[in-house]
Symmetry: C4
Subunit: 251 residues, 4 copies
């Protein structure tokens, strides 16, 4: 019988080998901001895969790679050994499709953090504002009041009013559920339109996360992608403007 949530570790992996680990969650979400940041870090740091999570709460589908190889939808765990500490990344294809599944999966992630003796979690996400943002801020939330000052010192904005409706999904639930296990957690949310995958917002989150973790990642490629995207949007906007002008001529 299939397990509702199954966690499998790579051969030879031992939680006990982890040194002072920090967990960084970057699952899919608004503007794919968290996913972009975490997967960029994994790529640049050449982090090593240490585990996989499968669940009947993920959408009922398989993912195909470019060669036609199919695999179950999954979340993955990666480890990067930094100086004096390990970064553990949680990334993946999907979040849950049901409310109950969200809780059960987030609880599973927090259980993993506890097993790993994680003392600090960063959850990453986007905060959708409904329009293009020129200088996206990084908004924050914490699961213990004392964490706010540290986050603000790294450039995180705490806004009385935003996000007003709370934080939905893994990035939020992990904050709430890890507090119950005595683990500190900070959520970093990059402002983003909500309509597009947003490397610009991701670059800002990455910069702050680098300060907070002390693990610097060369942001060039992410900035390049953000710059390209910026130009593409600009030329689209220009296109719209010239269309408007043409219409004026016609008028």
């Amino acid at each position: 019988m299939i397990e509702e949530i199954a966690v499998r570790y790579a051969d030879g992996f031992k939680a006990a080998d982890l040194v002072d680990p920090v967990l960084i969650e970057g699952l899919p979400g608004i503007g794919q901001v968290g996913k972009l940041v975490a997967e960029y870090m994994i790529h640049m740091l050449e982090a090593e895969k240490i585990g996989e999570i499968h669940s009947i709460y993920f959408p009922p589908q398989v993912v195909l790679d470019e060669s036609g190889l199919a695999r179950l939808a999954r979340n993955e765990l990666y480890r990067y050994r930094a100086e004096g500490k390990d970064l553990v990344f949680l990334v993946g294809d999907h979040q849950s499709t049901s409310g109950e599944g969200h809780y059960l999966l987030a609880d599973c992630y927090c259980g993993i953090a506890e097993d790993f003796k994680v003392k600090r979690i960063y959850t990453l996400g986007g905060f959708g504002v409904g329009h293009l943002v020129n200088e996206p801020r990084v908004l924050g939330a914490v699961n213990r009041p004392e964490l706010r000052q540290e986050a603000e010192a790294a450039g995180v904005t705490f806004d009385r009013d935003e996000p007003g409706g709370g934080i939905i999904g893994a990035a939020g639930l992990i904050l709430g559920l890890s507090a119950e296990r005595g683990i500190d957690a900070i959520c970093l949310m990059g402002e983003t339109s909500g309509y597009l995958v947003d490397p610009m917002s991701a670059a800002n989150v990455l910069a702050i996360l680098s300060k907070l973790t002390g693990v610097t990642v060369d942001p060039t490629k992410l900035n390049d992608r953000a710059a390209e995207m910026g130009k593409a949007i600009e030329s689209m906007v220009e296109g719209e403007k010239s269309k408007d002008e043409e219409l004026t001529y016609i008028g």
Copy 2:
């Protein structure tokens, strides 16, 4: 593993210390009428928090306070020691997101009432009528025929036809499920448009609940809020009227 529904009590709280307790449920609902009444009473009476309820049947999100501190969605229990009896309040962020969850949570609340040896429950809500109401009535429902007279004497209206479709959610289910445990329950529903948070309707419910419980709460602040809201709506209506007049001039 996370519990489907978890109830946690404050340190030192003992159900046995409660004297002749009455349970007052004011969870979110139509016009937030029940929530306004129960939270106003908690505030004015300086009721003491005695417990918290978390559940995977709540929406999968955390709530942020103004300082950016995140916490799980929850329901809360408060206690106020009145003369000769305790008032226990059940309030919170959310009701269940699923039908089954509604039953399981309402059954949990009734289980708490039974553990507390509660003999009387008041469930509070709004009854949406779809238009602004000048003098909102307080409609009632009971889970034992003998309770009706007492409620009517306190000013509750029992209308043959309303609410015709039954009572949905916690305010209704608690009535049905507490009867099975031998606990009396009265539901008080303030008439309300259903479109706005309605302190006017809440003030009427509060007045009747004060008579029924014998615990009087100064209604001034709630009445003030209702008056402000009344003025705001009036000036909106006036605004609409003058727009109509302008249009007439144009015409």
Copy 3:
């Protein structure tokens, strides 16, 4: 802890006292045809209530009577002692709100039938055709080929093409699940528009069910209601026609 499905019998009721019982299911559905027939029979035969079913798969609400008394949504069992056999009726407020709940409840009903040593089940329903029907037929389905002839002899129509999409909900699932327990079942579906409660269709189903069970019920009151409804619809149609004529005059 609340049971997912709870069946409770009246004090003193013993399944062993039932004589050769026949189960008649008339839960809410299209045109309320099945519900009308079963509740009319219960009323006219003064059948005695023998049990109640509650479930978390019903909608999360309570039902109010005209006096403001609330009770949980429920299904009910009634018994009528006819000559040489008992009729057991299954009626109620609601069917399940979820697919899984439909299966679990229908299985519970069949379990009751087996406990009662029921050898024949009639499930009643409406078959929505999308327009007004002047002479509604009673369509049939069976769970054993040999049952068809008996049904046809009583006036049931078996149509190659209808209902093409199968039978949804309790009336259908009981057919399928009772076969697995070796219980014969016939489904009677009165043709109906699907837009209105349809006593005319119900009267036709009642006539056939009387023949099949050998228990005659005076159909006068149901026919009266059907006649009234027929007149009301006729006058509505007339009204529409005269409006059309007026429009013609204008034109």
Copy 4:
């Protein structure tokens, strides 16, 4: 109590009697392509029914045959003894109605394959492209990289970009879940509009499946049906064209 998923085998059937079995899944899906292929093979090969699967995750309804006989929604297993190996077919009325049900059912199917000591599974489906396709390709996916070459040799197309979003439902999940049990699986997806039942696409899938399994099935009747459908569509298109021409004349 009803089982969530129940598998029942024909009397006398023994999994141990199967010789080197191959499982072919053809459940309902896009264009009914998989269902057409598998049911056509069962029909032409006169495969023998060996089992049935019922589940509360199927839609809550019964299926009627033309004589009015009702039966539960089900999946079925058939066996055809080819030279030196058995073909086992999985066909049926429905897939699951819920995400979790999809996982649980697909896992059940893979469990059956494991019990049968199946070493190769073919899952069949349609790939909807949103427009009529003149020469539908058969797209492929595999659950082990080494399988691709064999599939390509039989005429399967592996397209870098399609199907981009993965494969939803049983055809996909069986690929993913069988890999975990060490069973090879190939998915064959016939391109199809997605709007119509598509025997043309099914004929192409059948041709390739015949090559892969070495079990040839006379495709005449399926080709005939495809040809008829092709003509019907052509005449519809012609009809549209002549309407356009008429409109031009009017213009």
